[in-house]
């Protein structure tokens, strides 16, 4: 191996490490910064001369205590979990049968209809939130969590149908035919055969729908105004600010507590979501 080749390889490795460190640092920095702020005493946090990278005073749990004791944070977490659970149930109830019947539809219509449904996933809340706020008001759901329970499935169902169609397509039709010959009804074959095989697909839909509920902001902001009925994604940025006073320590603690569990869950199922996003553009 020539000296030049070795030098070149060394430079390439240094570049590799630099790229990784630079991007990881940049992308993860806001979360690192949340951890620091969440445990710093206020005097330390709000003294401009202090080095912000170190604890100039001992760390404190005051912000966490304030967050859990004197704000509606726990209530918001509860609201979000409840809405998440109901939306997941509605999504499964509607999307699983729909995806199954679309994959088993003869001819190309199933595929076409599936793509049509997938395209509605591209419709953003910012296009429909104004008329949707009237629809919600007319139905008498304004200011309650039921407003978002009604609307979120319009965002979760299209993508879920698309994801599940990918799963169901990989199950050979002969398997069901055999089961039906053995005396099961089509519905029985679906329930006893198709669903168990597709557990991982169904789990992906559960995680996808739940994370979407925690991430959505526009509809929740538009429909719900009372502090106690907020979802966590709106409650934290809007209601942990009093007038012009930002409770930065508690704000950052709240962001961490609310986003880390979601991040871990989503990370586990990432590859499957990506397969859905790429719309079959890789084989």
């Amino acid at each position: 191996m020539s000296a030049r080749g070795a030098a070149r390889r060394g430079a390439a490795r240094a570049m590799h490490v630099f790229v990784l460190v630079f991007f990881t640092g940049l992308l993860a920095f806001p979360f690192f910064w949340m951890v620091i702020a969440a445990f710093k005493q206020n005097i330390d946090l709000y003294t401009v001369e202090n080095n912000p990278f170190k604890f100039n005073l001992p760390p404190t749990l005051d912000h966490i205590r304030l967050l859990f004791g004197e704000t509606r944070f726990v209530r918001w977490l509860g609201n979000t979990a409840l809405v998440g659970a109901i939306v997941v149930a509605i999504t499964l109830l509607l999307a699983v049968p729909a995806a199954y019947s679309l994959t088993r539809l003869t001819g190309r219509w199933g595929e076409r209809l599936g793509i049509g449904i997938f395209l509605t996933y591209l419709i953003p809340p910012t296009l429909l939130f104004i008329p949707m706020s009237r629809v919600v008001a007319i139905l008498g759901l304004q200011d309650t969590i039921w407003s978002v329970v009604l609307v979120y499935p319009t965002m979760t169902i299209p993508f879920s149908i698309w994801l599940l169609m990918g799963f169901f397509k990989s199950i050979p039709k002969e398997l069901e035919d055999a089961a039906m010959v053995d005396g099961l009804t089509r519905f029985g074959a679906f329930l006893k055969l198709v669903v168990p095989i597709s557990v991982s697909g169904i789990l992906t839909v559960v995680i996808f729908s739940f994370t979407l509920v925690t991430q959505e902001f526009v509809y929740a902001l538009t429909f719900i105004s009372p502090e106690s009925n907020q979802m966590v994604g709106v409650g934290i940025p809007i209601f942990l600010v009093r007038g012009d006073v930002y409770f930065w320590g508690s704000l950052m603690a709240a962001c961490l507590v609310a986003s880390l569990p979601i991040a871990v869950l989503y990370n586990l199922f990432l590859d499957r979501f990506i397969a859905g996003f790429t719309v079959g553009s890789i084989k």
Binding site: L27, I117, L122, P124, A263, F277
Partner: protein, 282 residues
Amino acid sequence: MFMPSVVFIALLVGIPFVLAVLYAFSDARIGGTSFHFVGFENFRSILHSPSFRKALQNSIVFTLCAQAIVIVCSNILAIALEKPFRGRGFVRFLILLPWVAPVSLGTIGWKWILDSIYSVITWVLVALHVYKPYSAPMWLGEPHLAMASVVLVHCWRLIPFSTVIMLAGRSAIPREIPEAAAIDGAGFWRTLFQINIPMMTPILSVAVLFGIIFTFTDMTVVYILTAGGPFDSTQTLPSLAFATGIAGSDLAAGAAISLFLVPVLVAVAYLMLRVAHRAEVV
């Protein structure tokens, strides 16, 4: 069996969409009972308003800048992440955080980083003697810096998403092709531009198309970071629609502003179908 889903979506997406169009041609207001059709009056007054023009321009600028930066960065990052190394799983988790954490919460983190007084960026720049104490600019308080901040946060949020899509695209390239190219003497850049990128075109366009939708129609980042300020300098179409239609109670004008998103959505949907078609799924 797919009818319940189709009916549910058709009702809850179709009706609001028709309403949006009706509102845009009417004089509807929150709390008001009058409802008259006024033709193109809303569109005429919107097109003449400077804040609308600024918002339209911002939406386009933010989307294009963010996409350009995201494509370059995510390509670099995907190459760096491709080969296995120790701790890759953990690095991947850290890199993905901006995408998987709720947007509104990540943006609040940036608001603290860019704070007018306690910004860590300001502290570092003062420590490096770039600025004297208390003379550093307010990152979110000056129009151009505020615009740059919005683009930065969009990039920060989209790079992870785009990177994983690029990774999926790279892993789909048959190994033999770049290997054969290497034997024929093609270097890193030549392999990148003449083999990898052309072979990844369909998946690259998927990443770009989703990225365009996520940036162009987003309101969360702007609303939390700057609320459209200072002086409407970071207002985008969605945030202006919210400020006008919900906060300002003028449903008609707000709905009309939202409708300007439609041409972009239609174009993206069309291109998405073209990509899917070329990959022979339809």
